[in-house]
Amino acid sequence: MKQRLTPANLVLTLIAVVIGLVLAWQLHGPRATPPVGYSPGDPRDRAVSAIEQLEVEQSALKAEISRLRAELTEVQSRASVESDRERHMDDELDAQRVVAGLIAVRGPGVVVTLDDSSIHNIPASSNPNDYLVHEFDVRDVVNVLWLAGAEAIAVNDERIVGNTSVYCVGSTVMVNATRLSPPYIIRAIGEPGVLADTLRNPSYLTSLRQKVERYGIKFQVAQAAKMTLPAYTGGFAVKHCSIQ
């Protein structure tokens, strides 16, 4: 085929080459780059690999727990057909699982978004920490939501249950021993108007509101007609507890 080397053809060829390169980059996938280029042998490089490995294990263990719980629910139903007493126990098991947070739930409520300040020119006299959302901010919002009558709460897909703790390692927020990154999306099922009004009550969340005003911390509340909160996928050991 005889093609003439026109400017149009050159431009098209160039664009095609660039598209090819970008597609190759996309297929390779975004890489989790370490914060700094630690060289192998640097203990911080080993720390990053150890953390990544532990989180891979964590995901796998949570998935296994989910799978086993689903299977057990199924097996328990099938095993409890012989008498009314057994069927009643099966019903009780289902009810207690819902209360425990082991079952995904849906309903109306609110979505609260907490995010670090996007102010970049932090005055030299200020503490950079003030411009970040801390674990106590997340905890305080969760506590106000329970106070407002929330029936179920999740932070970035981690369900808040009886043994959930919200703490920090450095500036990293952990919920259910899982590392979370901002923005922190706190979803709560309940009466949307009451939840939203309680969050806006100036008696609560005074420290957070100050940070919003002074440092530009982001705090937004939106009502939602329908949300689904995931099940808790962790453990609940009660080995030291005996029943009277």
Binding site: A8, L12, I15, V22, W25, Q26, R31, A32, T33, P34, P35, R44, D45, I51, L54, Q58, L61, K62, L72, Q76, A79, S80, E86, D90, L93, Q96, R97, V99, A100, A104, V105, R106, G107, R139, D140, N143, W146, L147, A150, E151, A152, G162, N163, S165, V169, G170, T172, N176, A177, R179, P182, I189, G234, G235, F236, A237, V238, H240, C241, I243
Partner: protein, 224 residues
């Protein structure tokens, strides 16, 4: 470029290229946001948190595997017992039954605010408490501590006065070590919350009463 068709196709291709490049940058940025901070102390603390967390997850897997084994048994009695045991485990977790066991008694006195009590409950959960009570009230996930008009405090609607007595059932040594660790909440209390006095005692037998629960859910339903 002579024809409208070729101008159009070049524009379209350039547009698509732009979209691809922006999508790639956005994906890379989302990935970078989850970047790990591995600096010295933080990295070590994060690793030990994850190691402990994974150990607890493995315990739960072992528990669930053992239950599955019970259901593979041919004896109906074995299966029934497994159901009773799991129901009891859930009820303990939910505060639906009174429990007793070893653990620690934590006494907090002084001008404690609601936030201090909430933070201490969070710390006890982090330390591995299996059942909690505060001034005789069972604490569950949704338990509320709120200030009353007269300046006092209510726990799930019941008035509570200082000294505040926390019951935490679990392994006493583990709970005590976690609570007294340097940099933990109790260190923060002694450094910056003047006037607060905290005392931690190991006990062989503590009681956490049943939670006087409200009714069932009105808004949340199981998602299927």
């Amino acid at each position: 470029m002579k024809t409208r068709a070729s101008q159009f196709s070049i524009t379209l291709v350039a547009f698509l290229l732009g979209v691809l490049v922006m999508a790639q940058f956005a994906a890379q940025q989302r990935m970078d946001q989850k970047r790990v901070s591995a600096s010295g102390v933080d990295g070590a603390l994060l690793i030990s948190s994850l190691v402990q967390g994974n150990a607890r997850l493995r315990q739960e897997v072992a528990e669930l595997d053992a239950q599955m084994d019970s259901y593979r048994s041919t004896t109906h009695q074995t299966k029934l017992q497994a159901m009773v045991d799991e129901l009891n485990r859930l009820k303990v977790f939910n505060g639906a039954v009174e429990v007793y066991g070893p653990g620690v008694l934590v006494t907090l006195d002084g001008p404690a605010a609601v936030l201090d009590l909430q933070d201490l409950l969070n710390e006890l959960r982090n330390a591995g408490a299996e059942a909690l009570a505060l001034n005789g009230q069972r604490i569950i996930a949704s338990s509320i501590i709120e200030p009353l008009a007269d300046g006092s405090i209510a726990v799930d609607g019941f008035a509570a006065r200082r000294p505040y007595v926390f019951v935490a059932i679990g392994d006493p040594a583990t709970l005590e070590t976690a609570l007294l660790r340097p940099g933990g909440l109790l260190t923060v209390f002694s450094n910056s919350r003047q006037g607060l006095m905290v005392n931690v005692q190991r006990r062989g037998r503590l009681t956490a009463p049943v939670h006087l629960a409200a009714g069932s859910f009105q808004y949340a339903v199981p998602a299927k």
